[in-house]
Every structure is written in C-alpha cells, then in structure tokens.
C-alpha cells in the first residue's frame, strides 16, 4: 500500500476515533453511547488491520480480527445487555456537557503536550497521530471520573482501554502477541466482572446509580 | 591550730548558752521600759528555764517520739551553729570550716525539728504554726544564701571565718554598697527566721496570729525549755553573725588569751547592743498580716540579689 494513502487512512481512522470520543462526551443517552463505542472499537480494528497490511504481518492482522470481534462486537453487546436491565436511558453527568467539552479541549492540548517526546519514536504516519490515543486515554478517564452510572463508567473504562490500544499500535505496532492476548482477555474479564457486579448491585439497590454506593466513608 | 579551733568552738557554744537568755532578758526589758512598764528584769529567762526543767512534760494521745526528740534536735542544731560561725574568733578548724551552706543547712535542720514538733500533737494550731513557719523559712532561705554569697564574692570562699577575716583586713569593704545591701537583707531574714516583729509577735497570746508560739503550744516541761533555749540560741547566733560581719574588729584572729578575751568582750557588747536596738525598733513596728510577709521577704531577696549583681558590676568597673 502506498505510504501516502496509508498516512491518509491512518489520519482518517484517528479522526474517527477522536470524533467518537468527543461525541461520547457530548451525547448522554446510554444506547447511543454504546453504539458509538462499538464504532470506536471497529475503527480501532480497522486501524490495526491497516498497520498489519502496511507491515504485511499476519500476526497483526489476526490481532485486528480479535480486536474487531472483542471491542467492536462483544463488549458493546455485553454492555447493551446490562444497560437494557436498567430502566432509565438518560444519564445526567456530574458536570454538564458544555463544561465537559471545554475540558475535552484542554485534555486534548495536554495530550499533545505530553506526547511530544513520543514523536521521537520515529518518523512516519503512525507516530504522528499517537497524541490521538493519548487524548482518548484522558477522555476515557474523564468519562470515568464524571460518570454517575455504572454503565457510563464502564463505557469510560472501555474508551480509556481503546486509547491505550491505539497508542500501543500506533507507537509500536503492537506489543508481543502473548501480552496482547493477555491484555484482551484481562479487559474482557474485567468487563464481565463489572457486569456481574452491576447485576448484583441492581438486585441489591434496585438501581445502578453510583450515588447510592457511598456507605463506606472515612 | 586545730585544737585551738575546737576549743574556741566549744567556748563559743558555752558563752552563747550563757549569754542568749540574758540577751532575751535585755530585749524584753528594753521593750518594757520603752512601753513604760517596769519589767521582770533581765534574769527572767533564766528563771523560766529553771522552772520549765523542773516541771513534768505532758504527753497527749497521738504524740510520738518526735515530741521529745524534736526539741533536742533543735538544741543540737542551734549549738552546732554557735560553734561553727565566727563569734568570738575567726579561727576555724580545717576539719569543719564554718562553711556558709553547711551553717544554713544546720539551721534549717533546727527549723524542721521545730515544725515537726508543731505537727506532732495533731491539733489545729500546731499545724497552723508549723505551716506558716515552713512557708516563711522557704522564703527566707534564698535571701540568706544570696546575701552571704554577695559577701563571699570578693574573697572567693564561702567560709564565714574567711569572710570576716577579710573584712578585718580591709574595713573599707564593710561600708561598701554591696556589704550594706547584703547586711540589710540579712537583717530582715534574721527577723523572719527567728520570728520577731514584724513577721511574728513573740509576745502574742492570740493563737490566730501566732507562728512560733503556735508550734510550741502543745509542748511543756523540759521539751518547752529546750525549744525556748534553742530558739533563743538561733536568735543570738544570727545577731552575733550580723555583728561580726558589721563590726568585725576585736575578734580573735590568733588563739592568744588576750585576743580571746577581747573577742568575748566585743561579742557581749555587740550582742546586747544589737538586741537592744532590735527590740527598740520592734516597739515602733506593727505585725504584718501573714499574707503581706512574702512581700517583705521578696523585698529582702531582691536587695540581696542586687547586692550580688552590684558586687560584680562594681568589680568590673
């Protein structure tokens, strides 16, 4: 594949990732967010696939497939399942969307600043867009810290994880396979556990609103 | 030298035992005369003592061995003080230099004995007297020490004999500011320690104002005799000390018969003179309220301290 095309496609994917993240911050209907999440996962998979094609390494392509299955399909569906159980679809965030979006802008700038040293990892289209991954990480963290609801925290966690994966693939074309597998499985397990816990919380508290989970203080 | 010193020490003891009752007699007589009364004559204290030794002491329930041991302890301390301080002569044994601190602490031993006697009977007034007595003693001790400390600085020794000898050698030091301040402080301390006016009224019969009398209230017979004689000796000794510091001339510096007799004579003159002076003053003094006494003592303490500091600063300039 031609380098120029590759660079454009990479840029495109990065753009989509960033856009989906910003939309996640903006829109607060849970079902919509989950769809955005699957979109993000898919885009990530595409990104990986393109890197694989560019490097012509089967391993990476396999990983791309795995990512597609996991982040594009499995995790969003799991989330959707547990989201169905809870009645309310809207989620009032701790801070209002405007402030959140401004915060996102700041985080993006921060991400660019802190990933300045990473630019030295080598020229080429991939390293140029590493900051996007950083931004995703920070946005994910922000979603986590502002989510008022179990599901929205899960979403935030997954965005953060996507961000890390993005950085991983962009900066280094993916860590060794065994580590990669371990990572994916761990993420899966964590999400499963959180889902189980959400279920139990649902049964205990009748809702999955995190404001109820403040009995342990001091 | 040592033998002479010991001999002189015992001489001083004997002389003081003979003189102090007379001293008390003279003081009372002077007072009586000044107040326009005839008075019993100066031998009355001797008669009192003889009477008391003849009477049987009473022992109330609750009284312990302290009642009989205390007075003797007081006597011992008073006599030892008389032996240790320079009265007739400035010669002191090398074994027991009349060290300032030793003398003061032996005096205090007597004070303690007196206070314990007061507490022993377990009556209200005994305790009251002893409490007041100890409070005053506690306040007096620093004054005495600091005052004599002030006098001892020029000599650089705390032996009283040495101090007096130095003053004989250099009379000008007596009328120096330091020595005058120190002597004033010492005088006030003496009045307080020996419970004279204005701290205590020796001839009061009103229990609530008593200090010394309240302590001996329960004692009788020979116990009382010892207590009285002991306290008189303390007064005599302190007056004698002031005398030797104020007018050291004529005190024996060599153990020759002549000098000793001269010293004796001077001692008698000084004692009786000072006694008369003291009781003369007492006529014109009113007893202080007990809670005003600390002010007096604090004042005397400050004077003593000034004396010390002055002595340094004067030496510097």
């Amino acid at each position: 594949m031609a380098d120029s095309l590759f660079a454009q496609l990479i840029g495109l994917c990065a753009g989509v990732l960033l856009l989906s993240a910003v939309l996640l911050v903006w829109r607060r209907t849970r079902s919509g967010n989950i769809r955005l999440l699957s979109l993000q996962g898919t885009t990530l998979a595409v990104l990986v696939a393109m890197i694989g094609l560019h490097r012509t390494s089967v391993e990476t392509l396999a990983v791309a497939g795995l990512v597609m299955f996991l982040k594009g399909y499995l995790l969003p569906t799991l989330l959707a399942r547990s989201a169905l159980r809870s009645d309310v679809d809207r989620d009032a965030p701790v801070i209002n969307p405007t402030a959140a979006l401004l915060l996102v802008a700041l985080l993006a700038i921060l991400a660019y600043v802190v990933s300045r040293p990473l630019a030295s990892l080598g020229s080429g289209p991939t390293t140029q867009v590493v900051p996007v991954g950083m931004t995703l990480v920070l946005i994910g963290f922000m979603l986590l810290a502002t989510g008022r609801h179990a599901i929205s925290q899960l979403i935030g966690f997954l965005v953060l994880d996507n961000g890390i994966a993005t950085v991983a693939f962009l900066a280094s074309g993916g860590v060794p396979l065994v580590v990669e597998l371990g990572v994916l499985i761990d993420v899966l397990l964590v999400v499963l556990i959180l889902r189980v816990l959400t279920g139990r919380i649902q049964t205990e508290y009748g809702a999955t609103d995190l404001d109820d989970l403040t009995e342990l203080r001091g | 030298m040592n033998v002479d010193a010991i001999f002189l020490a015992f001489l001083q003891m004997v002389v003081m035992v003979i003189l102090t009752p007379l001293l008390i007699g003279i003081m009372r007589q002077v007072r009586n005369r000044l107040e326009g009364r005839v008075g019993p004559g100066i031998l009355q204290p001797w008669r009192d003592l003889r009477k008391l030794f003849a009477k049987e002491p009473l022992r109330a329930p609750g009284m312990s061995w302290v009642q009989s041991v205390g007075p003797i302890l007081l006597m011992i301390s008073s006599l030892s003080v008389c032996a240790l301080i320079p009265l007739v002569s400035t010669i002191h044994s090398r074994l027991i230099p009349g060290d300032l601190f030793v003398v003061v602490s032996i005096l205090l031993l007597g004070t303690v004995a007196l206070a314990l006697v007061g507490l022993d009977a377990g009556t209200a007034f005994g305790g009251m007297g002893s409490s007041r007595h100890m409070t005053i003693a506690a306040m007096v001790e620093p004054t005495v020490l600091v005052a004599i400390y002030a006098l001892s600085i020029p000599i650089g020794s705390s032996a009283l004999g040495a101090i007096v000898r130095a003053r004989i050698a250099d009379p000008s030091s007596i009328i120096s500011l330091v020595s005058l301040l120190a002597l004033v402080a010492l005088g006030i301390a003496t009045m307080a320690e020996t419970s004279r006016m204005p701290v205590d009224n020796p001839s009061t019969h009103l229990e609530l104002t008593m200090v010394h009398e309240a302590m001996v209230l329960e004692s009788s017979g020979r116990d009382l005799a010892w207590l009285e004689l002991g306290s008189w000796l303390r007064l005599g000794a302190l007056l004698g000390l002031i005398g030797s510091l104020l007018l050291p001339w004529g005190m024996a510096t060599q153990p020759t018969i002549l000098e000793i007799f001269l010293g004796l004579f001077m001692l008698i003159v000084k004692l009786f003179g000072l006694g008369a002076l003291l009781s003369g003053m007492e006529v014109f003094l009113a007893k202080l309220r007990l809670f005003r006494v600390p002010e007096l003592l604090a004042g005397s303490f400050v004077i003593a301290l000034l004396a010390v500091i002055a002595s340094y600063l004067l030496e510097v300039s």
Binding site: L110 | S80, V102, A115, G122, S131, T135, I309, Y312, L313
Partner: protein, 663 residues
C-alpha cells in the same frame, strides 16, 4: 569473653531465667523467686558498672542482617556510673517487690515486664552505638508502659496515663533518632566513639533535638506532662524504678550529648539546659509543695531534682564554653552526685509511699496521719529519705547540692557579664527550690506519719512485711552512707570529667582542691554528738526528777473540741504557699455553703474544695489534642465514599505526573 562481657551476658541470662520462672511458677511462689532473680539482674548490672568504672573494658556484639554495623554493648566510664545506679536501684526495688507485689502486680506479665525493663535500663548506658542504644531505649519504654498499665482494671486513669506516657516517650524517641541520625551522617559511622571523635563541629539542630528528646524522658518542664500521671498510677516499686532509674537515663543521654558527643558547643547550649533546669526545678517543687497525693508529690519532686541536675549540667557547659574548665568540672560532678543521691532517696521515698499505700489503702495525704507509731520502720526510713530530698545534712542530697553551690559561687567570673547574671540567679533558684523542698517534705512526712489518723484506713495500719522493710532499710543505708562518706564517689565522678579535681579527706569527706572547699560530714556528726551530750545529760536528769505524764487530750488551746478532723491537712498546710504562688499554680477553689433548714443565715455545713491542675497540661497539651481531633474529623471528608471523587484524585495525579514527566 572477659569479665564485663560475662557480666553483661549474665544479666540477659538472669532476665531469661526470670521470664521462665514467671511463666512456670504458681502465683504464691512466683513473687519470691522472680524477685530474687530480678534483683540478681540488678546486682549483675551494678557489678558490670563497677568493673567498668575500675577501668575494665570489653563487651558483646550482636550482628544484624541489615547492612548497618553490629549492635555493640561496651560500657564506658560515664555509662558505667549509670549502670551502677540503675543496678542498685533495681536490686533494692526487686527485693521490695517480693513483699509488695500482689494481685495484678504479681501477674506473669508484670514480672516478665519488670525483668525486661530492668535489663533494658542497664543496657542503655552500656550500649556503644546508636542503633543498640535506640533498641534498648525502646525496649525500656515499652516494658515500662506495660508496667504502668498493671492496674488498668481498677482505675481508668491508668489507661490515659499509659497513653500519655507512651506518646511522650515515642516523641522523645523520634527526636533522639533524628538527632542521632544527623550525628551519624556527619561522622559517617554510628558508634558513639566515632561521633565523639570528630572534633570542632557543632550541629545545633542535632543538639537541640537530642536535648529535648532526652529532656522528655527526664521529665523536664514543659515536657514533664507524662511523669505526674504515670508515677502515681504505676505500682510503687515500678514508680521507684521509673523515677529513680529510668528518668536518670534521660539525664545520662543529656550528659552524653553535652560532654562527649557534642563537647564544644556555643554558650547558649549550656544556657538552654540551665534555663530548662531552672524552670523544672521551680515549677516541679511548687507543684510538689501543693500536691495532696503522696506519689504525685514525689513525682513532681522528681521533676524538681532532675531540674537541679540539669542546672548543674547546663552550668557545666556554660562554664566550659567561657573558659572556666575546673569549675565546670565541679558543676558536672555535682550533677552526677545529685544523680546518685536522687536515685537513692527517691527509691526510698517511693518504696515508703508504697508501704503506706499497701498498709492503709490511701495515697491521699488528707486521709493519712499518725502512722509514725504504727509503722516505725517505714516512718524512720521515710524520714531519712525526706531529709535527703530536702538536701539536709548528713544525707547524699546535701553533698550534691553543696558541691553545686560551690561550683555556682566560684563560677562567677566577673569579666563575663553573662555569668555575672546567670550564676547568682541560679544560686537564687536553687536556694528557693531547696527552701520549698524543705517545706514539701516536712509536709509529706509530718502529715503522713505525725498527728492523728484522718481515716479508718490510717487508723488500722500495720507495719509492712520483712522484704519491704529490708528494701527500705537498704535504701536508707544508701542515703546516709553516701551522705557520710561521699569522698570515694566524688573521686569516681571527678575522673569522669577527665581531670581529677577532687580529693578524699581523712574522714572520708570530699574536698574540692581547685577551689579549696571541704566538706566533712563525719566531723559534723561528731560535733553534733559532742553538743548532744550535755543536752541529753540534762534531759536525763530532768526526766529522773519529773517523768512524763500522760494526759488524755492535747491542750489544743483548751478545748474538748479537738477531733482529728481539726488537724491541719496537707491542703491547708500548703495553703499559704499556694496563695503566694496563685498566679503560677492557678488552683481552682470552690466553697459550698449549705444553710440550715431554719434560716439561710445559719450555716449547716461549709465544704471547701481546692484542686491544683498542671497549667502546661491545660494550656498546651489538651488544646493540641483538640486541634488534632478537629483535623482528623475534617480529614474524613477526603474519603467521602463517592467513587467519582476517588477517580478524580487518580486523574489529577495522572495529569500532574505527566506534566512532571514532560517538563
């Protein structure tokens, strides 16, 4: 394995033996055997000290797995003196404890703790490097805390006393660790030898840290706060050990720092110690003079005595720094003499207080009285102890204060304005302290043992058993013995100062050669005896002529009204004094008048209550505790249970760290 090492090992072996005995023996046999073994520990410690004072060297080393040099226990001259003191006190108190310990004080725990406590105390002055010092120091602290807690079931104050004690002790530990760490860094090694080997350096921070740290342990005002709480609550033999031995180790630390680790300091170092000492001496004796609880009185008098010792130490440093070396030596000697003297008479006094406590069940002076006839041995020995505490001849306390006075009056070098002001003031402070001490101990002895019983407990008191009497008699012997022939000890202490500036006189007295002052207690005794002869003869003659007559009522200014209630109590005895020092003591008094039913002008009963609190506690410590509580409660909001808040902590940390990383 030379003699000293053997003796050190012997102490540890005895301690282990005592622990085993305490564990295996049944309750009724425990006291005897444990007591004997523990006093053996004490004897072993004293012997170690003596042989080290005699110039013996040697010790034991214990390697540890951390890369820091091995633990070394090698007593030097100075430490050896304190080992003797601690060992002797330990031996006497252990013998006493055989008779005293019963109930919780006879439990396994408290015997084990006692053994460890004594051993640790003896090893503190033996330790030759910082880490082992700190180790035994903390062992001493924790075992003594256990001992203070002995009677926690009976009184709830015991727990708070133990808490205060452990907190203050830990504070002192922290300060000492920091100070030693500074010195260790500067010298590059943790042994005392290497620290004192580095010359011409003055780390004022280290000095202040160490002095304050040791001052806490020594019960110096305003850090004394634990002492009047812990001493009364502990069993009496433990109070004796703590007050006579453990507190001394704080002094040991201060002396060690002032004379060996940091010998060449500026003059304000000495001044600092001097001021601390003066403050403690005055405040301690004031509190003691108005105290109504016997053991509390003794505790405050400990503060006073340590204050005097600090005065002499401070004077020594001050004089040395202003070039009066020989007088400085005398000041130091007086301090060490006072250490020994105080150990002797304070042991005795606490043991006596314990005897009174166990005989009457009352520690409150206002409920005692008239014990002199019921408990002759206790009262006689207590009287000796009181004489010592009042620094009257012929006791050990008097010798110490005499040397101190000599040093102070000769320490005034007129060219030095500082000395010219400080020395007389110190003389005045010491003199006032001595006067108040006199009053305090007349009160303590008179109210307890003279007069008539003020409570049923005092009425039915019986003399205590043999072991306790033996302990007290040994103590009294020490007090008088050291008071009569101080020469030997004086020479021993003067060798610690490097120059031998003290001679022993023909009568075993002490003579300060450099300033030509001599003290011959024996001669004084002979003089007193000589003067006593005529007095006694006259008394005997008079007694033959007119024997005593018993009357069934004291005159009491002529009344049937004189009931024991009418005696002066401890409170009323100290009343004039507490009025004089009202501003310092701030006692809270209240008078409740209950009028009779008929008319409010007829008063049925008047009850007067007066309580003297410790102003330092009220003004500084309790507010500090409140302040900490407020902070602690405020801090709980940090952890308010909201996961979003927690996550934002992490988020903030992430951002900060990232920025740090790229900057």
């Amino acid at each position: 394995m030379n003699s000293i090492a053997a003796a050190l090992v012997a102490q540890v072996v005895f301690a282990a033996l005592a622990v085993v005995l305490a564990l295996v023996l049944p309750e009724q046999r425990r006291a005897l055997w444990c007591g004997v073994t523990i006093s053996a520990i004490g004897v072993a410690g004293a012997l170690t000290g003596i042989s080290a004072l005699a110039g013996g060297r040697g010790g034991i080393r214990i390697p540890i797995s951390l890369p820091i040099s091995a633990l070394k226990f090698e007593p030097q001259q100075l430490g050896a003196l304190f080992m003797v003191v601690v060992g002797a006190v330990g031996a006497i108190t252990a013998i006493y404890a055989i008779g005293y310990a019963h109930g919780p004080a006879n439990s396994r725990t408290s015997w084990i703790a006692l053994a460890i406590f004594l051993t640790a105390m003896q090893l503190v002055p033996a330790s030759a490097d910082v880490v082992s010092f700190l180790l035994v120091w903390e062992l001493m602290a924790i075992s003594s805390t256990v001992l203070v807690l002995t009677e926690y079931r009976h009184r709830d104050q015991v727990r708070s006393a133990a808490l205060w004690y452990s907190v203050m002790t830990q504070l002192s530990f922290v300060l000492i660790v920091l100070g030693f760490a500074i010195l260790a860094k500067q010298s590059g090694n943790i042994t005392f030898a290497s620290i004192s080997a580095m010359h011409s350096h003055r780390s004022s921070i280290a000095f202040v840290l160490l002095i304050v740290g040791f001052a806490i342990k020594a019960g110096i005002v305003p850090l004394h706060i634990w002492l009047p709480r812990a001493h009364p609550e502990a069993p009496s033999h433990v109070s004796a050990l703590m007050s006579a031995a453990m507190v001394k180790l704080g002094v040991y630390g201060a002396v060690l720092v002032g004379t060996q680790l940091l010998p060449s300091g500026p003059s304000w170092w000495g001044l600092l110690i001097l001021v601390l000492g003066g403050l403690s001496a005055l405040y301690g004796i004031l509190q003691a003079s108005v105290a109504v609880d016997l053991k509390r009185l003794l505790a405050y008098s400990t503060t006073e005595n340590i204050g005097l010792i600090f005065i002499s130490l401070g004077a020594a440093l001050l004089l040395r720094s202003s070039g009066l070396g020989h007088v400085a030596d005398y000041a130091l000697v007086s301090g060490l003499l006072l250490v020994v003297a105080h150990a002797a008479f304070k042991t005795l006094l606490f043991l006596g207080a314990g005897a009174v406590l166990s005989a009457t069940g009352e520690g409150d002076l206002d409920k005692l009285g008239g014990l002199g006839s019921r408990m002759p041995v206790t009262s006689a020995t207590f009287a000796v102890g009181a004489l010592g505490a009042a620094a009257l001849p012929v006791t050990a306390g008097f010798v110490g204060e005499w040397v101190l006075f000599q040093a102070l009056i000769h320490g005034a070098k007129s060219s030095d304005r500082l000395l010219a002001v400080v020395m007389p003031l110190s003389v005045a402070v010491v003199a006032l302290t001595a006067g108040l001490a006199l009053m305090t101990f007349v009160k303590a002895f008179g109210i307890t043992f003279l007069g008539r019983a003020r409570s049923a407990g005092a009425q039915g008191a019986k003399e205590v058993g043999f072991a306790m009497k033996l302990g007290m008699v040994l103590g009294a012997t020490a007090v008088v013995g050291l008071g009569l022939i101080p020469g030997r000890l004086g020479i021993q202490t003067s060798t610690l100062t490097g120059r031998d500036s003290i001679n022993i006189t023909s009568m075993g007295g002490i003579s300060l050669t450099k300033i030509s002052a001599t003290l011959n207690p024996v001669a004084l005794l002979i003089l007193a005896a000589a003067t006593a002869i005529p007095v006694l003869v006259q008394s005997i003659f008079a007694a033959r002529r007119s024997p005593r007559r018993r009357v069934d009522l004291a005159w009491g200014s002529g009344g049937m009204r004189s009931s024991p209630k009418m005696q002066y109590t401890a409170t009323s005895y100290a009343e004039p004094l507490s009025r004089i020092f009202d501003d310092v003591l701030k006692p809270d008094r209240d008078i409740v008048m209950t009028p009779s039913a008929e008319s409010q002008y007829l008063v049925e009963r008047v009850r007067f209550r007066q309580q003297v609190t410790d102003i330092f506690e009220v003004r500084f410590y309790l507010p500090a505790v409140k302040w900490f509580d407020r902070i602690g409660i405020a801090a709980r909001r940090m952890q308010n249970g909201r996961i979003q808040v927690y996550l934002s902590y992490s988020f903030a940390a992430l951002i900060v760290v990232l920025i740090m990383a790229v900057l």
